[in-house]
Amino acid sequence: MSTLVFLEHHGSGIQKGALGVLSKAAALDPDTAGVLVGSGVAALAAEAGRFGAARVFVADDPALEAPLPQGRVDVVSGLVRDHGFDNVLFAASVLATDVAGGVSARLDAGLNWDLVDLVQEGGDLVGKRAALGDSVYVDVGWSGGPRLGLVRSGSFEPVEHGAAGAVENVSVQLEDFSSKATMVEQAHEEQTGPSIEEADILVAGGRGLGGPEGFGILEELAAALGGAVASTRAVVDSGWYPYATQVGQTGKTVSPKLYIGCGISGAIQHKVGMQTSQVIVSINKDANAPIFDFSDFGVVGDLHAVIPQLTALVKERKA
């Protein structure tokens, strides 16, 4: 068996989600390779080796600088054709999802998405997929190869192996239609903390905060815990907090180690984006809020009282 992992990068590092998938793949299959696609990405090969790639393919080309999918489809599909990989895995993101969809069509290869785990069963790869609003967990498989899988963010933790992968340069041949979409402008905010997909701890706020100023106490708690602040559709629509922090059906799907929901009722649209969090703590005034049904620890009370106290206690403990 051999496995290829698509390694998305942003700025000067490989995305944590991609490193997590790489580590998991390496644990399942020692013949795991990673592929880096972009301009000036060769420097990232060492990082890929450390997190489990026995081989690192580097497709370095100025034409691939912009994070657009179709040139990446050309590179990944070409590698699969040349090297006969059995599995190709992606950590879900806007870019990786489009790349995976394109590779599936190019190779007529089955793609399973929303995977929260991967296991070996009798020499076959089985994916665990959360489906239909996470109301059912489906064991999914593939007929024929290669098997393509898109893994939900936060499902696997990056593990350092310490070994160095063998680096191989890939010559890039793009299809004519792959350069017909071009990046005109990118307005990427400088992040001050971890993004909500990358954070191990999320402090999330909903309408129960009462207004945009309510996020101040959440930011303090997140800073004390070393996490990031997330939000709901309702508060983003009201303009209280940026869209980039929105969790749920029309926002992001997250699986942090700890999710603290503050003033969030737990509507299904939000629930589908966060219920695979490892531990869920929630604080809500309404004892009947649905979020308590899927929380590990629930507090019925006033978040404006509880959160600042908790922040002080966390700071005290860490001091």
């Binding site: 967990y137 064991d139 029309t250 403990r317």
Partner: protein, 244 residues
């Protein structure tokens, strides 16, 4: 919410009479582009059982010109590989300037179809669009990613997916609803669009469903009323779970 049939392990689609909410954004955007251009044709395309026409009619009531439904028993159970092949063949027959998708399918939460269809059509693709402009044979789109905004330009024809932030879909007028039934609604078979049955349905699919399981239980949960000590109790819980 839809359910999965434990016998076939397929999503139960019978009795479904509503157009996917996200597709309404795509229909609305297509209508706006046509109105801005002053001419053009908006065609609705779907694959599904014949009853799906009932839900597609909402798009006709909103103002789309005609509908094409690929309805064939041999297409049931199609996964991404099979569905993208069928849709690409149906789209080729119409050779549109723009192919618009809603941001996700309501039944499977998949956000992969447009990239697969674009690859089969050998056309550029832009996804997750929140603002869209078409002029001079090009489309310029703004979209949100994990890192901020991208502005992307592509030559037409192109395949696009729009997010639900792109517009507020209109409600059909009474006149629109009355007129919808009279608009052309073409139900075609796989053979009509030149798709070999071996490339559709389960035969043409490359993924399998092996088992359905209930979601993992979260185990014991605790719920307390704040009596002034809740913060302390949360901290103790976090320490016990080794989270601080």
């Amino acid at each position: 919410m839809r359910r999965m049939d434990p016998a076939t392990m397929r999503v139960q689609r019978s009795g479904d009479r509503s157009l996917n909410a996200f597709d309404l954004n795509a229909v609305e955007e297509a209508l706006r582009l046509k109105e801005a251009a002053g001419d053009g044709e908006v065609i609705l395309l779907s694959m599904g059982p014949a009853q799906a026409l009932d839900s597609i009619r909402k798009g006709l009531a909103m103002g789309a010109d005609r509908a094409v439904l690929v309805a064939d028993d041999a297409a049931a159970g199609s996964d991404l590989v099979a569905t993208s092949h069928v849709l690409a063949k149906a789209i080729e027959r119409e050779s549109p300037d723009l192919v618009l998708f809603g941001q996700q399918a309501s039944d499977s939460d998949g956000a992969v179809m447009w990239a697969a269809v674009a690859d089969r059509l050998r056309l550029p693709v832009i996804s997750q669009i929140s603002e869209l402009e078409v002029s001079g044979g090009q489309v310029t789109a703004k979209r949100q990613t994990e890192f901020g905004y991208d502005k992307i330009r592509a030559d037409l024809p192109a395949v696009l997916s729009v997010s639900d932030a792109v517009n507020e879909p209109r409600y059909p007028s009474l006149k629109g609803i009355m007129g919808a039934k009279k608009k052309p609604q073409d139900v075609v078979s796989l053979a009509d669009i030149g798709v070999d049955a071996s490339r559709a349905g389960e035969a043409g699919s490359r993924t399998t469903v092996r088992a359905l399981n209930p979601p993992p239980s979260r185990g014991d949960n605790q719920k307390i009323e704040d009596d002034g000590t809740a913060a302390q109790k949360i901290l103790e819980f976090l320490i016990e779970r080794k989270l601080v």
